[in-house]
């Protein structure tokens, strides 16, 4: 890991919340506009954040708080590693750990809503984990390495050879961003049969921590999307923003589905697409047949 990588990684840790918070604000603004409303100012997320920080602490159990810190710190670690151009597989594993911390947080208090939310959250992990891992594999097949740095060295945009993988990643993204139709464990909007699902029992500054983590997550995910057009990177960034916009639209044109649907869609479509894409590469750019 070169000094440059360290620098970028650390810079990302500082800047990600700003970008993420702003993007979430844009999300709310655009969503409002799509619903024919004016919507909140784009800085709204930061107001929310600081307001939450200023509330009195109200907690249920200690465990819940500990895990939520883990959630934040591990997500930050994943962000750092992605920007420091480390191994994609490891980044996804760390992300899974972070996600699990959120679930543990939800599980660590005996509250029906947060626990059902936790269960649904693991179902979500079951849905998107394979897609992410397989996407990493597909990228590997193109670049010959699992390291993010390899993608940059690869030069040629991945999107051209991995279009279906990209689509699959979009499915995973929808789940990860908690957007309709897959906002089943905790919806970003408040109206859900599980109240706020995994976040139900958090309040005040711990909710702010979760919000912060979401910002990091958002940046991480969009950065991953940008990797599909890593050279030149500005196209990748535009691509990521376009994808984000697409997610907003999808969020606004679909109803929430149930976990069974989510699982079948992400496995059949997501995993299926990646499989087809890999076969496509094999046939088109064919490594010779081996047995």
């Amino acid at each position: 890991m070169s000094g440059f990588d360290w620098l970028i990684g650390l810079a990302a840790l500082v800047l990600a919340p700003l970008v993420g918070g702003f993007l979430r604000g844009v999300d709310r603004k655009l969503t409002a506009r799509m619903q024919g409303r004016i919507g909140p100012p784009v800085w709204q997320q930061f107001y929310d954040f600081f307001k939450l920080v200023g509330k009195t602490r109200a907690v249920t159990t200690k465990g819940a708080l500990v895990w939520i810190w883990g959630y934040l710190l591990l997500t930050m670690l994943a962000v750092f590693m992605l920007f420091a151009r480390q191994d994609l597989l490891i980044i996804f594993f760390i992300l899974a750990f972070a996600g699990a911390c959120l679930v543990f947080g939800a599980f660590s208090v005996r509250s029906p809503y947060s626990q059902i939310g936790g269960h649904r959250e693991i179902m979500q992990m079951l849905s998107y984990e394979p897609i992410l891992l397989l996407a990493a594999v597909a990228i590997f097949l193109q670049t010959g390495t699992f390291k993010v740095s390899g993608i940059f060295e690869h030069g040629e945009p991945l999107l051209l050879t991995l279009p279906l993988v990209f689509v699959a990643v979009l499915i995973a993204l929808t789940i990860k961003l908690r957007k309709s139709p897959f906002d089943i464990s905790a919806s970003e909007h408040a109206h859900q049969e599980l109240v706020r699902g995994v976040y139900t029992e958090y309040s005040g500054r711990h909710l702010a921590l979760i919000e912060l983590t979401h910002w990091y997550e958002l940046v991480l995910i969009l950065a991953f999307v940008a990797l599909f057009w890593a050279q030149p990177l500005w196209i990748g960034v535009l691509l990521a923003l376009a994808v984000y916009f697409l997610e907003l639209i999808v969020d606004n044109v679909e109803a929430r589905l149930q976990w069974g649907w989510m699982l079948s869609i992400s496995w059949a479509a997501g995993v299926g697409f990646i499989l087809v894409n890999i076969l496509m590469i094999e046939l088109l750019f064919g490594n010779v047949l081996r047995l």
């Binding site: 602490r57 109200a58 907690v59 249920t60 159990t61 200690k62 465990g63 708080l65 500990v66 810190w69 883990g70 710190l73 591990l74 670690l77 480390q86 191994d87 597989l89 490891i90 594993f93 760390i94 750990f97 699990a100 911390c101 679930v103 543990f104 939800a106 599980f107 660590s108 208090v109 005996r110 509250s111 029906p112 947060s114 626990q115 059902i116 269960h119 693991i122 179902m123 992990m125 079951l126 984990e129 394979p130 891992l133 990493a136 594999v137 590997f140 097949l141 699992f146 390291k147 029992e201 069974g260 699982l263 496995w267 995993v271 890999i278 076969l279 094999e282 490594n287 081996r290 047995l291």
Partner: protein
């Protein structure tokens, strides 16, 4: 010490101890009688490791009289299986036992020339040493654990006469048999020890002599006998094709011609039955009725590993053949489906059993992939799996003896009741599940190995691996979740809180040792450079892992266990230390505004009556239950096995 002596100790000391133990019915006496040899065993295995690591493989051909002894014992053993079949009126056991006896007699006395002898009979390379370490260190610790466990167990069952001597006879003797399996080079010897483990397995499962135990034991027996038949057939065919029964010869030839493929496939089949791979998984699930040390020792860390050991041992032989692809697909398939099946399980030991099968599937898959990286991952997985799964089984055993239940639902909020034990359990599961720990390192390496197109079927393999590892997350995370689900202090302490069980010495020894091993697993790099890479090299592969700077690097990826370990430990430990909650800050949970002060979350419901809110685990029984999946899983498993055999015949 000379290698020969070490080998003798490792095989014979357990047997001797077992025999001695049979005579001792006094618990006080039994303790030193068993603990001492165990310590010796551990020491011997460590010494052997250094010896082999430093001076290369050991060979040993005992005097010819040993061959005779073994032959006699073998015949007795096979006859005993037939006897069991007759007495228990079990057609399958009877049939398969008889078949084995016939096959063996034919092989020994008809097909093989008289005086046929395999040189060397025992061959101890690094792979064997790794297995031996697992068997002797983890195994010995489990045996020591068993001392206390069985006391409590019998106290709980209120037995009039102790049956512990029988238990320890098989348990300790088993260690010797197991070492025999991994040391054997002669397939004839291997077969003997193999059958010996089957015998121990049968008796240990039926130890409690309940109807369920008997049935499970018989099921385990016939399935293992089936494996024995496959093994024997394979031996016969091998001899026919190549005139040898030495593993060294078979693997040493490098990639063999297609003549040996069928026997190799049959050996793998034998391995699958031992490793309880689909569709033979039912015997292992049934075996969970046995006392927990048995599950930990035989059914997770060692005996089932004999199956994958055989497959792994033969890996160089089928490198680049049709077998690799099928094995990889089969292993990955088992890895996936058993992980999925585990999602619907709420009996803790069944979850562990499924996850064991799944890990073994992964080893088989890696053996199938058959590259240096894959083999390294497989060896690492054998080590890490034995340690972690052993730990979890033992923890479950303690929990079970305390709460008298194996049901994960009854472990809800265990962290308040048994903080130490549940802490160990959580740690164990985290170590299994997450970076930067050992098991995940193998998944990392395994995925990379699977993604390097080793065969045209590799996309299928990676898909299975990806889905399977995600499924693993589901049941482990949920289990941890059940353990840590506690009542908010605002709602009073839960009613069931009571003092922790007395921490007896052996518990403490076992757990501190195992937890220590867990921490060591975080230091994967030295382990790889010191043991795993040499093993891979010794098996004839090029080492794929670079360990400079104690990082782990493959040509395709980079992973720094210790660095991540430090960061992640800080991310979890610092909050745990720094976060404090004050009593005035705690509030009850959200119950739609109908909270009612009581012990635990309670809401006012119909007719203003308070009703406790329950937070059960969700097991998605309909989607992942055995009922809905088993037919598919077994069907696909059988198809894959048929493909395995048919493919090599055609």
């Amino acid at each position: 010490m000379a290698g020969e002596a070490l080998i003798a100790i490792l095989i014979l000391l357990p047997v001797a101890t077992a025999l001695a133990g049979l005579a001792v019915k006094n618990e006080q006496l039994r303790r030193p009688l068993i603990i001492l040899p165990c310590a010796v065993l551990i020491a011997a295995s460590l010494l052997l490791t250094f010896q082999v690591a430093a001076h290369g493989p050991l060979t040993l051909t005992p005097a010819a009289s040993w061959d005779t002894i073994i032959l006699v014992l073998e015949l007795v053993l096979l006859a005993y299986f037939v006897y069991v079949g007759v007495v228990r009126k079990h057609v399958l056991v009877l049939g398969l036992g008889a078949l084995q006896l016939v096959l063996f007699t034919l092989l020994k006395f008809v097909w093989l020339p008289s005086g046929f002898k395999v040189q060397p009979a025992l061959y101890i390379d690094l792979l064997a040493v790794v297995m031996c370490l697992v068997i002797s260190v983890v195994g010995a610790l489990i045996v020591i654990y068993g001392l206390n466990y069985m006391q409590n167990h019998e106290r709980h069952l209120k037995l009039s006469a102790t049956r512990q001597h029988i238990f320890f006879f098989f348990l300790v003797g088993f260690l010797g048999a197991m070492n025999g399996v991994v040391f054997a080079n002669s397939l004839l010897w291997l077969f003997f020890f193999w059958e010996l483990t089957t015998l121990c397995c049968y008796h240990l499962i039926r130890h409690d002599l309940t109807e369920e135990a008997e049935q499970s034991a018989l099921r385990a027996l016939w399935m293992n006998l089936f494996g024995g038949v496959a093994l024997l057939t394979g031996m016969a065919l091998t001899y026919q094709a190549s005139g040898t029964l030495s593993l060294l010869d078979i693997t040493g030839l490098g990639a063999v011609g297609s003549v040996l493929l069928l026997p190799l496939a049959l050996f793998c089949l034998a391995g699958f039955t031992k490793a309880a791979q689909v569709p033979f998984q039912r015997w292992l699930l049934g075996a969970m009725v046995a006392p927990t040390p048995v599950s930990a020792l035989l059914h997770s860390s060692t005996m089932v590993k004999a199956g994958v050991y055989l497959v792994l041992r033969l890996a160089p032989a089928y490198e680049g053949t049709y077998l690799t692809a099928v094995l990889a697909v089969f292993g990955a398939f088992v890895f996936m489906v058993t992980s999925l099946l585990a999602i619907s399980q709420r009996i803790s030991k069944r979850v562990l059993a499924y996850s064991t099968i799944s890990s073994l599937g992964l080893v088989i898959c890696l053996a199938g992939i058959n590259t240096g990286l894959a083999i390294a991952a497989a060896v690492a997985l054998i080590i890490f799996h034995a340690v972690t799964k052993g730990l979890l089984f033992l923890v479950v055993g303690i929990v079970e003896q305390d709460i008298h239940s194996r049901d994960i639902e009854d472990m809800e909020g265990l962290t308040t009741r048994l903080p130490l034990v549940s802490g160990l359990a959580i740690l164990g599961m985290i170590v299994i599940l997450f970076v930067p720990f050992g098991v995940l390192f193998t998944k990392w390496a395994g995925l990379q190995a699977a993604a390097t197109p080793f065969s045209d079927l590799y996309p299928l393999v990676v898909v299975f691996l990806a889905v399977g590892s995600a499924a693993g997350v589901v049941f482990w995370v949920r289990w941890i979740g059940r353990l840590i689900s506690v009542v908010s202090p605002a709602e009073g302490t839960s009613a069931e809180s009571r003092p922790e069980p007395r921490l007896s010495g052996s518990y403490l020894v076992v757990f501190s040792l195992l937890a220590g091993a867990v921490v060591l697993s975080a230091l994967a790099a030295p382990l790889v450079s010191g043991l795993i890479n040499p093993t891979v090299v010794a098996m004839g592969y090029s080492p794929a892992l670079d360990t400079t700077g104690w990082h782990l690097a493959t040509p395709y990826g980079f992973f720094s266990p210790w660095a991540l370990f430090v960061v992640i430990a800080l991310a979890l430990v610092l909050p745990a230390l720094l976060v404090k909650i004050r009593p005035e800050e705690v509030r009850p949970v959200y119950l739609c505004g109908e909270n009612q002060p009581a012990a635990g979350p309670t809401f006012r419901s119909i007719a203003d009556q308070p009703v406790p809110a329950q937070t059960g685990g969700i097991y998605w029984t309909e989607a992942f239950g055995e009922k809905s999946l088993n037919a598919w899983v077994n069907g696909a498993g059988i198809v894959l096995l048929a493909a395995l055999i048919a493919g090599v015949i055609v």
